[in-house]
């Protein structure tokens, strides 16, 4: 029988994963939603270089809290033409009157740019992902519009995993940075920045490493 319960961070738990052997509730399978930032053995997810038999064990994005700043800015920008600009023009005296057609075009363009800013912020968050499979760790960074970075490390090359969580917000919302050090100088070290439940991330990767070692 599959028991479905609601979990924090916009995800729903459905059943025990096949990749993990742990029986901890936080490491149970997650059903994806658009705002999922921590998912264990998610369904309906695949990535570009995924091999046929490769299973996604952990899917991570930055904690939703990183979207708070852009969301507040979008709200302020949306309110500006209605609340702040009329107030500004009562104090500002121009030597000429702005024609109504300029006001219409200016306001329309303002809202298009505001929407564009919100969309870009969301896309950056949405496509900035960290994936742990039963074979490797993949870091896909969508830094900005014209810069994309894809790095990966095989599980057998991982030397050390650690995490850091500092600051009031990090402790309160349980997010932080997880670091994966790889053996060999030419392989990149992978950093999971501002991910939810960093302790669970480290724990899950350690478990995968142990599973891999025991299967050898």
């Amino acid at each position: 029988m599959v028991v479905v319960t609601t979990a924090p961070d916009c995800c729903t738990i459905a059943a025990m994963p096949t990749v993990f052997t742990s029986r901890e509730p936080d490491l149970e399978r997650t059903i994806m939603s658009p705002l999922t930032s921590f998912a264990v053995s998610p369904e309906g997810i695949s990535f570009e270089t995924q091999e046929k038999e490769e299973k996604v064990a952990l899917f991570l994005r930055q904690h939703l809290i990183v979207l708070l700043g852009p969301a507040l800015l979008v709200i302020l920008l949306a309110l500006a033409p209605v609340l702040f600009f009329p107030l500004l023009f009562t104090f500002l005296t121009l030597p000429f009157e702005i024609p109504i057609n300029y006001i219409i075009v200016g306001t329309a363009f303002w809202y298009v740019v505001t929407f564009g800013f919100g969309l870009m912020s969301f896309l950056r968050w949405f496509f900035n992902i960290y994936i742990v499979t039963d074979k490797r760790i993949v870091d896909i960074d969508f830094i900005h519009l014209l810069y994309k970075e894809f790095s990966e490390a095989r599980l057998d090359k991982i030397q050390d995993i650690s995490y850091k969580s500092s600051g009031i917000f990090s402790v309160f919302f349980d997010y932080g940075d997880a670091y994966v050090q790889t053996a060999g100088g030419d392989l990149p070290n992978i950093e999971f920045l501002a991910v939810p439940k960093p302790a669970k991330v480290v724990e899950a990767i350690s478990e995968l490493l142990e599973n891999q070692k025991s299967s050898l």
Partner: protein, 72 residues
């Protein structure tokens, strides 16, 4: 300001606005293209919604540009 100077100023502003909006349309096209490329990297069920949003953004940018051409 005299009416002549005001008219010249508004003509300059109009072309600056149109130039800025033209650049913004290019930016909106790049967002759409980048979204399509990222969708190939990560296949996810919510991605079509983002594609519609990116299309809507480009359409809105073109719409405002056309509006500026017509009424400024």
């Amino acid at each position: 300001m005299t009416p002549d100077i005001t008219n010249i100023v508004f003509v300059i502003i109009k072309y600056l606005i149109l130039f800025g909006m033209g650049l913004y349309m290019v930016f909106a096209t790049v967002i759409l293209r980048q979204e399509q490329l990222m969708a190939q990297v990560l296949e996810e069920s919510f991605e079509p919604v983002l594609r519609v949003a990116a299309f809507f953004h480009l359409a809105a940018a073109i719409g405002v540009f056309v509006l500026a051409l017509l009424i400024l």
